[in-house]
C-alpha cells in the first residue's frame, strides 16, 4: 500500500482524469491500461509515476515476436548442454540455467516496483491472454524447478497500447483504463512550460498556432503529436528562429520553418506543400 498520490511531476503534466486513473490503479494494485495517439506520453507516464512515487522501474518492451513466457523466465538449454560437455558442476542444478524475465524481476523486488509493459498490442494476438493469471494473482509457476514465484509486493503495472490489435475482454476486465486524449491548447501550454520554462511567450503562442494549424490539415497520415511539438520547439530555439517567421499571415512563407520535425511522412510533407501552394495561389489572386 502506498499513501502517496500521483499528481504529475516537474516534467510531466497530468490531467485530472489521468491522475484519478493512476491513483485508483495504485491503490487497488491492479494493472492500468493506457491508450492514446502515438507521442502523447504513454510510455513516459510509467517513468514519471516511478519517479514521483520513488519506486524502481522495470521496463518490458514488447515486440511482434515477444512471447508471454519471456517476461517470466527463459530456460537456457544450450548453456546447460555446453556445460555438460565441459564437465561443469553447475550442470546438476537446473536453476542455474533459468534466466529471469522482467516480470519475475519485478515480482522479487524489495519494494513495490513499477512494471511497464510497453506496446502490448505489438505482440501476438494471444499474448494478453497468456498473462491473465500472472497479472491477476501476481504469481506464476516455474515448471523446471517446481517453484511458485509470488510477488512480494504487487507491482504497479502500467500497460500501453497503440490500438493496433484489439485486446481480449477478459484482459480488459482486469485493468483500469485510461485514454490520453490529445491535449487542448491550455494543457499544451502547461506542457511546454514544463519542458522549456524560459520560452518567449510570443514564440510559444505563434508556435502553438502553427502547430494546431498543421494538425488540422485533413488527410494527414500521422498527425504531429506532443512529442513532435516539443522536438520542433527545441529546434526553433536552437536555430534561433525569429517569431516573425512563424506568422501565418505572411502567405509567402506559409510553410512553418523546420517542419520536418512535425511531419514524419513523405506523403504528409508532400500533401502539406501542395495545400500551401494552393493556398498561396488563391491568396495572390
Amino acid at each position: 500500500m502506498t499513501d502517496k498520490k500521483f499528481t504529475g511531476t516537474s516534467s510531466y503534466v497530468a490531467t485530472d482524469d489521468l491522475m484519478m486513473a493512476v491513483n485508483a490503479a495504485v491503490t487497488l494494485e491492479r494493472p492500468i491500461l493506457i491508450k492514446g495517439e502515438p507521442g502523447t506520453g504513454k510510455t513516459q507516464l510509467a517513468l514519471e509515476v516511478a519517479r514521483a512515487l520513488g519506486r524502481p522501474l522495470h521496463e518490458w518492451h514488447i515486440k511482434s515476436t515477444t512471447k508471454a513466457q519471456q517476461g517470466l523466465y527463459d530456460y537456457d538449454a544450450v548453456a546447460r548442454l555446453r556445460d555438460s560437455q565441459l564437465g561443469d558442476d553447475r550442470v546438476h542444478d537446473i536453476a542455474n540455467y533459468i534466466v529471469k524475465g522482467k516480470v519475475w524481476e519485478a515480482f522479487v523486488s524489495d519494494e513495490q516496483p513499477v512494471l511497464l509493459i510497453d506496446e502490448i498490442d505489438k505482440a501476438d494476438i494471444e499474448f494478453p491472454n497468456d498473462l491473465l493469471q500472472e497479472l491477476d494473482r501476481m504469481e506464476f509457476f516455474v515448471y523446471e524447478t517446481k517453484e511458485l514465484v509470488k510477488a512480494a509486493h504487487r507491482p504497479i503495472v502500467i500497460i500501453t497500447s497503440n490500438n493496433e490489435k484489439e485486446l481480449p475482454d477478459a484482459f480488459l476486465r482486469r485493468c483500469f483504463f485510461h485514454y490520453i486524449k490529445f491535449p487542448d491548447k491550455e494543457t499544451m501550454e502547461r506542457i511546454i512550460d514544463v519542458h522549456y520554462p524560459k520560452l518567449k511567450k510570443s514564440l510559444l503562442k505563434e508556435a502553438l498556432e502553427a502547430f494546431y494549424q498543421v494538425r488540422d490539415v485533413p488527410g494527414l497520415k500521422k498527425k504531429p503529436s506532443t512529442s513532435e511539438l516539443l522536438d520542433w520547439i527545441k529546434l526553433l530555439v536552437a536555430e534561433d528562429i525569429p517569431v516573425e517567421a512563424l506568422r501565418a499571415e505572411d502567405s509567402r512563407n506559409a510553410i512553418p520553418p523546420l517542419y520536418g520535425a512535425l511531419l514524419k511522412n513523405e506523403q504528409d510533407v508532400h500533401l502539406f506543400e501542395q495545400l500551401v501552394f494552393l493556398d498561396r495561389r488563391t491568396n495572390t489572386r
Binding site: D17, N23, T27, L28, L81, N163, E166, F176, F177
Partner: protein, 391 residues
C-alpha cells in the same frame, strides 16, 4: 448502490461486467475518488469503460443518471436513426412475398418494355405494379421489388438486382484500420495457417542438435533452423458497392483481419461479378484496372482464392455477354469465373447474405453451381467450414 447506474449502462449498449462494478465499489471504499462528482466520474469511467470510442456514450448516460434527467436517457436510447427505420421497412417483405413476385419476360423484352413504357408514361407515379415510380412492384423504378427490375433514379442501391444501374454511385475503399470485432475472425482465420520455415536460421533445432551431437561422438554440434512463418497464400476478391453496401462493415472486419494474419495476401475488388478486369484502388477503379488474365498469370496455383460477395444480381450479369451493370463485357462472367477456378483449384465463395435467402435468389444458385457448391455464409462457423474445404 450503483446497481441502477450499472443497469442503465447495460441498457445503453455498454457492457460493464460485475467484476468491473465490484472494482469500482472497492475503489470507492478505499477512498480513491474523494467526495467530488468529478472524481467519481473519472474513476467510474476508468473502471467501467475500456474503449475510448464508448466514452461519449458513457458521458451521456452518466449525465442522465446523475442529474436525474431520466428523459434524456430515454431520448438517447429511443433515438432511432432514420436510415435504420427505412431499412426495416424494406425488410418487411417476406421471402415468400419476394418469391411470389415473378420476374417477367427476358432481358431484351425487359429493355424494350421499359422504352415503351417510358414513352407512354408522363408524370410521377408511386406504388402499383405497372408504371415506373417508387415503392411498387413494377419492373421499372426505384425502391420497389421486382427481381429483374431496372433501377431508375435511386440513390444507393436497395434491392440487389437491377440490370442496369443508371445512378452513378461513388464507392469507398474498405477501411482496413477497422479493428472492432476482428478478433473472432482472426481466430477463425488461424485455422488456415500453414507453417513453413523460411529465412534466416535463428532457432535452435533441439532434435537435430541431439542427433548430430551423438553422431559427433558427444561433442556439441548445434543446429539452427529458421523460424516458422505462416506460409499460406491468399487471393482475396471483394465485391464492393451496390448490394454490398449492407455488408460493408463485416467485409471491412474480414479484410482487416486477413491483412494482419497473412504474409502473402493479395486483394482485388470487383463489382457484382468478376469479368475481364479487377482493380485494387477503388477511387481509381475506372483508370487502374488489372486484367484478370494477368492475375492468373502472376499468382501461382498455390494461392487460395476467396471471393467475398453476396452474389445477388440479375442472372444476366453472370451468364450473358454484355450483362455487366458497369461496362460492356465481351465474355460473360461465368466464363471468367471458370477460368479463375481452373487456375486456382482451392477456392471458396463467402456470402454475407443469410443462408436461408440463398434459394430465393437465382443468381446465388448459379454462382453456387459455378463454385461447385463451395459457397459459405460469412459467419464464424461458415468461415470455419470454408477454411476446412480450402485445405
Amino acid at each position: 448502490m450503483l446497481t441502477k447506474f450499472f443497469f442503465m449502462l447495460r441498457e445503453g449498449g455498454m457492457k460493464p461486467s460485475i467484476t468491473e462494478l465490484l472494482t469500482l465499489l472497492e475503489a470507492m471504499k478505499q477512498g480513491v475518488a474523494g467526495y467530488s462528482v468529478d472524481d467519481f466520474y473519472y474513476l467510474s469511467r476508468s473502471c467501467l469503460v475500456k474503449d475510448e470510442s464508448k466514452f461519449d456514450r458513457f458521458d451521456q448516460i452518466f449525465a442522465a443518471h446523475f442529474q436525474g434527467i431520466e428523459e434524456a436517457f430515454n431520448a438517447l436510447v429511443g433515438e432511432v436513426p432514420d436510415d435504420w427505420l427505412r431499412k426495416q421497412a424494406e425488410l418487411l417483405l417476406t421471402d415468400e412475398e419476394r418469391q411470389q413476385i415473378e420476374a417477367m419476360g427476358g432481358f431484351d423484352a425487359l429493355m424494350e418494355a421499359l422504352r415503351e413504357r417510358l414513352e407512354e408514361q408522363e408524370g410521377r407515379h408511386e406504388g402499383g405494379n405497372r408504371w415506373i415510380g417508387t415503392a411498387g412492384t413494377s419492373p421499372f423504378g426505384a425502391y420497389g421489388y421486382n427481381p429483374e427490375g431496372v433501377r431508375i433514379g435511386q440513390q444507393g442501391s436497395r434491392h440487389r438486382r437491377a440490370t442496369k444501374v443508371w445512378d452513378r454511385r461513388e464507392y469507398r475503399n474498405l477501411d482496413d484500420s477497422v479493428e472492432l470485432g476482428t478478433r473472432n475472425i482472426k481466430i477463425a482465420l488461424r485455422k488456415l495457417r500453414k507453417f513453413a520455415r523460411e529465412g534466416a536460421a535463428d532457432q535452435l533445432d533441439l532434435e537435430d542438435t541431439i542427433d548430430k551431437t551423438a553422431r559427433n561422438a558427444g561433442l556439441l554440434d548445434i543446429r539452427m533452423v529458421p523460424e516458422r512463418h505462416n506460409a499460406v497464400k491468399v487471393l482475396l476478391c471483394l465485391d464492393i458497392g451496390g448490394s454490398m453496401d449492407d455488408h460493408v462493415r463485416i467485409c471491412e472486419e474480414l479484410f482487416s483481419a486477413t491483412r494482419t494474419e497473412f504474409k502473402h495476401l493479395e486483394y482485388f475488388y470487383f463489382h457484382n461479378f468478376v469479368y475481364e478486369s479487377l482493380w485494387k484502388d477503388n477511387r481509381r477503379r475506372h483508370a487502374e484496372r488489372i486484367p484478370t488474365a494477368e492475375i492468373t498469370h502472376k499468382y501461382g496455383p498455390d494461392y487460395k482464392l476467396i471471393f467475398v460477395g453476396d452474389a445477388t444480381m440479375s442472372p444476366y450479369e453472370i451468364v450473358y455477354a454484355g450483362g455487366s451493370v458497369e461496362h460492356w463485357n465481351e465474355e460473360p462472367g461465368a466464363v471468367w469465373i471458370k477460368r479463375l477456378l481452373s487456375a486456382y483449384p482451392k477456392a471458396i465463395w463467402l456470402n454475407p447474405e443469410p443462408e436461408l435467402r440463398w434459394d430465393y435468389t437465382p443468381s446465388v444458385k448459379i454462382t453456387r453451381e459455378l463454385m461447385d457448391d463451395r459457397m459459405f455464409p460469412l459467419t464464424l462457423s461458415g468461415l470455419d467450414d470454408g477454411i476446412k474445404s480450402l485445405h
